[in-house]
Every structure is written in C-alpha cells, then in structure tokens.
C-alpha cells in the first residue's frame, strides 16, 4: 500500500536526553583531573607512574573479565578508567606498583565484573580494591619480601618521607596551616593532596547534575558536629585524609548509594559517624574507605525503609469532599 516508505518504529518516548552513562563517567574522570595534577606536582614521576599503572590495569582487567564472562567489552562507558583513577588516588605515591595493580584488579574484576558489571555491584569497586589489600595484608607482606627487588626508584622527592596529616592529627602533632591543608599539602594518598581541587571537581559534577548535595553535606555535617562534641578540631578533620574525596566522589557513586532522598541523608550521616569512630577511636588510616564500604552494604535496607509515598498517597486535607473517602 505504501510502497518503499522506510519507517522506523520503537516504543515511546521518541525523544531522548543526550546524557549517557559514558558521558557521565567521563565527566567524573575529568572532575578528578585537577587533584591528580596537584599530586603529580608534588610526587612527580611517582604519581604519574602510579596513575598509569592503575589505568592500564583497570582496562586490561575489564577486557579480561568480560572475555571470560563472554560479554561485550564496555570500555566506552569509562567506568574502568574511572575506577582505575580512583584506586590510584587512594594510594600514597610510594606504594609499590604491583600493590596498586592488585587493588585495581580486584576492584574492577571482582567487585564490579564478577558482581554482574556496572550497575549490579553492591560495593564501590575502587574502595573495595583498596580495602582488600588491607584485609589481605599478611599475604601482601609475604609477597612484598619476595618482590622487594622490583621496587622502582623514580628519583628522590623530599615530601614523600614526611608523616601524613592524618597521622599528625592522630598523634597530636602540630598541624600545617589551614590554607596549606586546604589548597595543597603533600602527604598521604594522591587524592588527599588538595581538598580545594577536589571541590572544584565536585562543583563541576554538581553543575552537570551528576551528584547531589544530600550525601556530601550529611557526611561533612556529621563529621563537624561529632568532632565538635568530642573536643576535636572539626576543620582539621574536614581537611585531612580522604574525607573530601570520599564524601564528594565515592559516597556519591550512583550505583552504590541509595536512590531515595531520605536514604541519602541517612547514608551520609552513618558514614560521617563511622568515619569519626574509626578516626578517633581506632586506626588512623582508611576510616573513610571502611565507612563507605560498610554503608554500601546497608543501601538496600535503607532504600526499603525510606521509599517515598507515590503521588496522591500524601494524606492532605481536601477542601471539598462529600461522602466517605
């Protein structure tokens, strides 16, 4: 009847927003570039090498696992690169390269791909990879002895040997100035060097609509309130360690944070609480990582408890109504 008319059909809607997962992940990667540059400024080739190792490992791991699972590679969604960069930012510059590679491998391979791929993972892949090295410490120590010959010497940098600000805080040492801690201070992991440049990246993600205010604000707010009541210096706690990286970039991870608005606040408050518990009460390192991972596990429960009522469920006084409702 209608000859040669090439017509395409599909289900509605026939308009689509231009946003894709790949573009959003690429934005996250871009948002991490400022702090990465600060770390490269301080740690030079150590930082470059560490970041490079993690990115390459992440990509290779994803290809390997998806081949094994007989799935199409999904490198275009940028999630492997983002995880790789996150893992690098969670390590100090002098970390042996193979440790970072193992963490990346576990993060991308086990925590993401074996869980069903991006979207199905319950735990933040980068944090999972980072923390699994701590859990596997005895094995890592053994390997360390065998492979100490593999350590690279990429030149001498003074800043590498100094204590991290978090350790200083824990031991009650004299702290560097607030400005220095805020803008750029070498010490600790690559991602801990500059809260300011993390904020720049976070502002970009906020502007792009990829992260909301609820999770970061409730984490940081809780940290401030708790440290204040514990007689600690809230500002120091905000500025040191991976709190900024965790609050703005890792706790806000789409896949592993609650999808309810109330849930996001509860999630944030609980993370803030755990961070302070770890920092003040227990070991001084990786409190943020453990706090976020623990709360990742509670996400489904939080969501079920905090789901909003659908439209019309809100029992509001209706001005006119007759009969019974």
């Amino acid at each position: 009847m209608n000859e040669k008319k090439k017509l395409v059909v599909s289900s509605a809607p026939h308009l689509r927003d231009e946003g894709t997962v790949g573009k959003a992940m690429r934005d996250v990667f871009v948002a991490l570039i400022p702090v990465s540059l600060v770390s490269i400024y301080f740690f030079q080739w150590y930082a470059v090498f560490l970041i490079g190792v993690c990115l390459v490992t992440a990509v290779l791991t994803e290809i390997l696992f998806r081949k094994m699972l007989k799935k199409e590679p999904t490198l275009h969604d940028w999630s492997a690169l983002v995880t790789g960069l996150f893992v690098a930012l969670l390590f100090p510059a002098t970390t042996p390269w193979w440790k970072a590679a193992i963490a990346t491998f576990i993060g991308v391979g086990v925590a993401k791909e074996l869980m069903g791929g991006l979207g199905r993972n319950r735990f933040n892949p980068a944090l999972f990879g980072r923390v699994s090295l701590i859990i596997l410490a005895p094995i890592i120590a053994f390997v360390d002895q065998q492979f100490s010959a593999l350590y690279l010497n990429l030149g001498r940098i003074d800043v590498i040997t100094q204590a991290t600000p978090l350790a200083m805080l824990h031991q009650g040492m004299e702290m560097p100035g607030y400005g220095e801690l805020f803008f750029a201070f070498p010490g600790g992991a690559l991602g801990e060097t500059s809260p300011f440049f993390l904020l720049v990246g976070a502002a970009y993600l906020f502007y792009k609509g990829h992260i909301g205010w609820r999770i970061p604000v409730s984490i940081l707010g809780t940290v401030v309130v708790l440290t204040f009541f514990l007689g600690e210096n809230p500002l120091h706690h905000l500025l040191v360690g991976s709190l900024a990286l965790g609050a703005f970039f890792m706790a806000t991870d789409w896949v592993t944070s609650p999808f309810t608005n109330k849930g996001k606040v509860i999630f944030g408050i609980a993370i803030g609480f755990l961070v302070i518990l770890f920092r003040v009460g227990l070991a001084p390192t990786e409190g943020v990582a453990f706090a976020i991972l623990i709360m990742n596990g509670f996400v489904p429960m939080i969501e079920n408890m905090t789901a909003r009522a659908q439209f019309g469920k809100v029992r509001k006084a209706v001005p006119v109504s007759s009969g019974e409702n």
Partner: protein, 440 residues
C-alpha cells in the same frame, strides 16, 4: 494568575516553532475515509449502515447501548464501501466503516440553537449524540465524564490548554483562533456540572494564547491560569495538583477530589454540538516535525488516512523517518500509513533520520536517580524497570507500577537508555492478573 506546579517533571525541548505560527487550515478531502467503530475508551459501536448505503456527512453510522461509549458519524458523504477490520494507529485491527468519498459533498442539516438557553439535559444529550470524546488524547467519552456519580461533588472545572507534549500546537491554535467558542463551551460545561469556577490552564510558553483568552473573557468565574512550562504539566493529575493543590489518590479519578479536567478542544466541540447539533466529525491536527515539508495545523475530517495528511503537508522529506501519531513523548510510531486519523489524535510528528531511532540498545540501571527525580507520580521507575525486565511482577507491583501514567519522562532521561515505559506496559497487565486472582 500564576500557579505552582507539581513535584518532579522536567523541561524537555519544546520544538513548537515548526507549527505554532501556522493558522488552522482546512485539509483537502481524501478519496476514502475509514471510520473505526471504536475510537474511544469503552464498548465499540455497532454499525447502523450496511455496505452499499449512501451516507451524508454528519450522519450517525455507529452506535452502542453501553453507557461508556460514543457514537461515530460519517465525516463526509459517500458510499459505504466496506465494513471490515482495518489497522488503526495503536497497531490493533478494529472493525471500521470505509466510505468512498463523493466528489459532490452532501451534509445533514445543522441547527442554530441559542447556547445560553440550553438546559443541562439538552447539553448532555447534545454531547452524547455528537459522539464527543476527550480530544487531548485519552478519548474517554465526554458524556460519561460530565455526569459524575451523584455522591461526588465537583466544584472545579479545569480546561486543559497546557499542551505540554513537545511539537504539538493544535490546542495552542484552538485557543488563539477559537477563543470565543472555547469560552462559550466552558460555560456550557460549567452549567452542566453545576460548578461555579472554571480554570483555563495554559503553559507560559504560549503567552499569545493567554492574552487572547484574557482579552475575550468577561466572566469573573472563568480564571485564566498560567502554569510553568514543564513536562508533563498537562497530565490530568499533575494539572489538578498545580491548579487546585489537590492530589488525586492512587487509582482514583479526579472527581474524588472535586475536580474535572477537559481538553480545550473538547470544550469547543461541546459548544459546536450544543449550538449546531454538529457531531464530532472533524478536529484540528498538528502535522509537524523536522521531517515534514510544510508543517501546519489542519482541520481534518475524522477517518482521513494518515498518508493523505502527510501528502497534504508536502510529504516526508527524508527517509528513514519516524512517523508518530501524537507527540513524541507518548505517541505511537507507525509502520502503516493507511491508518485513519481518529477523534483522539492530536498530532502527527515526523522525525528526521537522525532522530528516528528504533529500539535502543540499553544497559543495566546504574541507579543515577534521574528518573526518580523527574517522575511526576513520585514513583521509583528504576525499580519498576529492573523488576519489569526480570518478570518479577509481584515486586514491580510493590513499587506502584499501576500508578504510572506512562508520560515517558523516565525513559527520556535514562542514561542507560532503558525502555522503562515499555517495561511498565508489559508489567501492567500481568499485575492486573495478579490482583484479579487475589480478589477471587
């Protein structure tokens, strides 16, 4: 008057510029018209004519006894060629009366009544006889809607001129060009419902329509309301929320909160039915999109084949194209251009090759919450899509799938390109089955 809006929703590109400045033009007559016996929600009509009969324009050719039903009329004079199953825009095969159109047109005689004197009974009867259905797309028989159950008191009538669907401009043109008919039709609806206040709601991207209505309106009980431009502002429940700040309960109908919503085109049809005894045999249809040669707003006889209308507008420019009956957010893509324009068709959107995507490849939900933030029904489309995809309908039911109005905004924003509306449409009948089996 400006109003607040509803929660959720999103600004989607308007794409109104193709046709918004085009005055309503009378479309040329097709060679044959196809009148489906069911153009509405409810029982289908039985044919009143047989093959070979001659019919006049405006003659009633199909009717049903059922309460929820609207009769159908011949939109042009001619000979009944066939009464058979033909495809319609929804993809279903429906019993249709096919009329071969005469060159020389003959019409039934129309009256010229004084609308001010019409009694509520006369209005109801005129609306029933004219076969009027909701012309905003839902096609629910108007005669049923204007007779709410006696125990529910309606105190507010809302005329919906939001036209939040991108591309479409038929309601816009009606408000501009048939302003007085609209206002008179509004008064008739007020009278029949016994409501004092009527609101005409228009999105603020149509300032000329708002001004035209304000100028011509002299009745203080008809209030012109400017709503923000946000999709889906024109959805019934969202509009009631915005205008009256009342929420229709889940599964409920507007009269449960004392409200009634009618499309502006429907009000004009009511006016014409009461004044002239004229049945609903023509309507304004927007033919638009980047891929149609001459976009415009056409006064089209019901039953006109889609292809005739596309040719009237200069034809499709480039193939492969996507021809959507209705707007791009909720409309249905067509594979067969012989389908007729029916009472509930607001527009035809012809999309160019680069926008003419088929079923998209989609990936896992990454829980970005963009659908959650924009859902106007405050649902969790992410969960519905995951459980719907997996066929876990009991879970999908728990996430209130049945409350979904299928506005399409979730699928529009989804960065994983998930066909969320399709999952909902697949899940709903299954959930209905579950609910029915539970009742037994």
């Amino acid at each position: 008057m400006e109003v607040k809006t509803f929660l959720g929703g999103l600004n989607v590109p308007h794409y109104k510029s193709f046709s918004e400045k085009q005055p309503i033009k009378v479309a040329s007559l097709p060679e044959e018209i196809i009148i489906p016996l069911s153009q509405h929600i409810g029982a289908p009509c039985q044919p009143l004519v047989k093959v070979g009969d001659r019919v006049k324009a405006g003659q009633k050719i199909g009717e049903a006894e059922s309460f929820v039903c609207a009769p159908v009329h011949a939109s042009l004079s001619g000979k009944v060629k066939a009464i058979e199953k033909r495809p319609i825009h929804s993809g279903q095969m429906v019993e249709c009366i096919v009329i071969e159109v005469d060159d020389h047109q003959e019409s039934v005689d129309y009256a010229d009544n004084d609308v001010e004197k019409a009694s509520p009974e006369e209005i109801i009867n005129a609306v029933k006889e004219a076969g009027i259905v909701g012309m905003g797309g839902a096609a629910f028989p108007t005669v049923v809607k204007i007779q709410p159950p006696p125990d529910k008191k309606v105190d507010a009538l809302i005329l919906n001129g939001c036209e939040c669907e991108p591309y479409l401009t038929c309601d816009h043109r009606i408000m501009l060009e048939k302003t007085e008919e609209l206002l008179k039709g509004t008064k008739l609806l007020q009278k029949v419902l016994g409501v004092e206040k009527a609101y005409i709601a228009v999105e603020d991207n149509k300032p000329d329509a708002i001004n035209a209505l304000k100028e011509k309106n002299d009745d203080p009980n008809i209030i012109i309301m400017k709503t923000p431009t946000k999709y889906p502002q024109g959805a019934e429940k969202q509009l009631i929320k915005a205008i009256l700040d009342r929420e229709v309960p889940p599964g409920g109908l507007p009269f449960e909160v004392g409200a009634l919503v009618q499309n502006v085109g429907t009000a004009v049809a009511v006016y014409e039915a009461v004044r002239f005894q004229k049945p609903l045999i023509e309507r304004v249809v927007t033919v638009t999109g980047q891929n149609i040669a001459q976009p415009g707003n056409l006064l089209v006889k019901i039953g006109t084949p889609l292809e005739h209308l596309l040719n009237e507008c200069g034809g499709i420019k480039e193939e492969p194209a996507k021809v959507v009956m209705g707007g791009p957010m909720t409309g249905v893509a067509q594979s067969d251009l012989s389908v007729p324009v029916v009472k509930g068709i607001t527009g035809i959107t012809v999309l160019p090759p680069k926008m003419a995507f088929g079923e998209l490849e989609y990936s896992e939900c990454v829980r970005c919450c963009k659908c959650v933030d924009s859902c106007p029904m405050l649902l969790y489309p992410n969960q519905i899509s995951i459980y719907g995809e997996a066929g876990l309908y009991q879970e999908a039911e728990k996430w209130n799938t049945m409350d979904c109005i299928e506005c399409g905004i979730c699928a529009y924003v989804c960065p994983s390109q998930r066909p969320i509306v399709k999952f909902v449409q697949q899940a709903k009948p299954q959930i209905q089955k579950l609910q029915n089996s539970r009742k037994e």
